[in-house]
Symmetry: C2
Subunit: 396 residues, 2 copies
């Protein structure tokens, strides 16, 4: 049984209930110390030698293996670096090469926009009549026909928290001869994931949400071990080369998932992420999931009883939902600002979604009750109408 | 007149003469403090709000403008993020779109391998018969024919330090109707660069060498302001969208160089880089260049007088050379290890190049003399023959 929460491992500001770990996880205490070490003792003292003496060269793979443990990926099958958008592009480009006679990329209308944008950019770059189809999430399974080269879906919808059935959709994709790409941005560290059991060819994700790697933390990509050696990398950078320091004129991909690496790894961000992953030691994902579902259920019950002007925008059935709960409210933007002003941090997603992430590593039932106390007050007294909460800033 | 060196701004380990700032710049003292601030006060206390309250959203553009000042790029014309290899891909893909009737990417055999690999990956992705040509560096100008869609060159050769004439080659490319892409990896912060005067469409570079941004620091890309609005981004991520947070289903590029951004920016690395750029305040690049040439000349003179077994592998003429000096030596790998063991850090590049970077920000003439003292001893007494110096590690 996992001991939860583990608040003592995080820097959590006083007076704040943080329900936005699905956007940016809080600072793990170990990350600060580790960064100090990397900067002064490694970069500062060892300089260029730290690639060897501090084993910076091995850090991307080490971090990949640690993430792999949380998503059911075997050692050596997860590469880290770049941003999630880049990893989406790599997976899509590789998948299209695997189905040269097909011209459809199938996603859904609920996917995170950047995933769709990257597909659009790839289609424009190849310029051979590829088509991106985005049916409603509930219509995806039916839309998987034998025209489809690749099915690219985000498992947990960033707005509603609605969760696709990875195994069922992957099976359907394979039955239709399509390649599968899963985006685990809102899954890794949030719900139990087993990429191996799903049979998916590719999975990608980011590490600054539930994995608490810090702002702009590196992304990851899983490639199924049996196909790795046949992948043709579109972004064929030197760190994906079989022998990066041989400085050969021709690209020759590494015979492992390392071929999905591109350029020089972001060591400072990787070190922060590596330290952040320490908080997962001894965490059983089934325990975490049970705690997450309980927190979400409690939140829904409390909000529906005390804030009748909000409409649940997430699936009511916990098995269909990730680790977040969303409510629709016309003035959601202002309400989210008013909440933050009182220490309850959630976020807003256009056009009208108030989104709250529940992360059992550092959130408990008392936090849920306290958060709803504040919500009730803001909504009942219409505090969100104050002029200062109407001003839109760039990011929420 | 710029005061040089500025050793007091850097953490320089005792007993080390660091001639490898062309591979990884040393730690600027201000970067440690800044990182502490970003982690504890911004990420730790502000959490997600820091995107606004600490203005993380503006950091990529701010850093881009600061780099722009060092390469002659106007404010707003340099985007930062990703790795240099990704930026090469973006520039190449955009350039090919600008010349749809041409099928040749022209580079040179001395280019950094990753640049060539990325071109190969792009060619494979588009799969329409594109060809990468890599003549010898001295034959590039002649090879610019009207078949060439894009000329992609690294200004300063990573091995020899040989420097292309940016303005002359760009003019030649334009006369032939080709688009120009310059890689400034070994130029930015090393030699005076004026991308505006050169007329180049694109320039890319990294920031962990002469700009001292730290291991894996973000890359940059310049796009000539008059063409920005017509660029079709291949890597069309949400941060390059005109309205990233509107979450529109279709990609609509920002009407600025911001369209060359892709995913969520690496805030920790950007903050370290931003602090590192402080050391450039008040530095006149002409003064820096004069100091660099003087250091290199002195090094060549001393080495040739005292280490006759080494053969100069860089241009003798300072105007043809970047801020590094390379010598060929059959047992260069071992010699570089023996040097490092005695505190003189240079690096080795296959097959036989001993490479030394001269960075007037923190290297002075006394360092040059002291370094050659050690070199003379190692080579005269054949200390490099010791068994421990023969073992090859992964990175040098």
């Amino acid at each position: 049984m996992t001991n939860l929460p583990r608040k003592e491992l995080f820097h959590l500001p006083e007076g704040v209930i943080y329900l936005d770990g699905n956007s940016l996880g809080p600072l793990p205490k170990g990350a600060t110390e580790r960064m100090q070490q990397v900067m002064t003792a490694e970069w500062g003292q060892e300089l260029i030698r730290a690639w060897n003496t501090a084993d910076w060269m091995a850090l991307p793979a080490k971090v990949g293996d640690r993430i792999g443990r949380l998503i059911g990926a075997p050692a050596g099958s997860v590469a880290t670096g770049d941003t999630l958008s880049i990893k989406v592009y790599q997976a899509l480009a590789a998948a299209l090469k695997m189905r040269p006679d097909r011209r459809v990329i199938l996603s859904d209308a609920g996917n995170f926009p950047s995933d769709l944008y990257m597909a659009q950019g790839l289609i424009g770059t190849i310029d051979k009549g590829y088509e991106l189809r985005t049916p409603a999430p509930e219509d995806v399974a039916e839309a998987i026909t034998d025209e489809v080269a690749v099915v690219m879906l985000t498992q947990v919808d960033y707005r509603s928290g609605r969760m696709h059935d990875m195994k069922a959709i992957t099976e359907r994709a394979h039955a239709a001869g399509a390649v599968m790409v899963w985006d685990l941005a809102h899954s890794a560290g949030a719900v139990p994931v087993d990429v191996t059991a799903s049979g998916t060819e590719f999975a990608v994700g980011c590490s600054y949400k539930y994995l608490n790697g810090g702002p702009g933390a590196p992304a990851f990509i899983y490639a199924r071990p049996d196909i790795v050696e046949s992948i043709e990398p579109a972004l064929s950078g030197w760190l994906g080369h079989a022998a990066p320091f041989a400085m050969e004129p021709g690209y020759r991909p590494a015979m492992s998932t390392e071929r999905m690496r591109v350029g020089t790894p972001p060591i400072l961000q990787l070190a922060a992420l590596d330290a952040a992953l320490d908080v997962w030691e001894g965490v059983d994902m089934a325990d975490l999931r049970a705690a997450s579902v309980a927190l979400c259920e409690r939140f829904i019950t409390e909000v529906e009883a005390r804030c009748p002007m909000l409409t649940l925008a997430s699936p009511r059935d916990g098995t269909q939902r990730g680790s977040q709960v969303s409510f629709a409210f016309k003035d959601g933007y202002a309400a989210v600002q008013a909440l933050a002003d009182r220490g309850v941090i959630g976020d807003f997603r256009a056009p009208d979604i108030m989104r709250f992430g529940f992360t059992p590593l550092y959130i408990d039932e008392a936090d849920v009750i306290a958060a709803v106390d504040v919500m009730e007050e803001i909504l009942r007294d219409e505090i969100w109408r104050e002029a200062k909460y109407q001003v839109r800033s760039r990011v929420t």
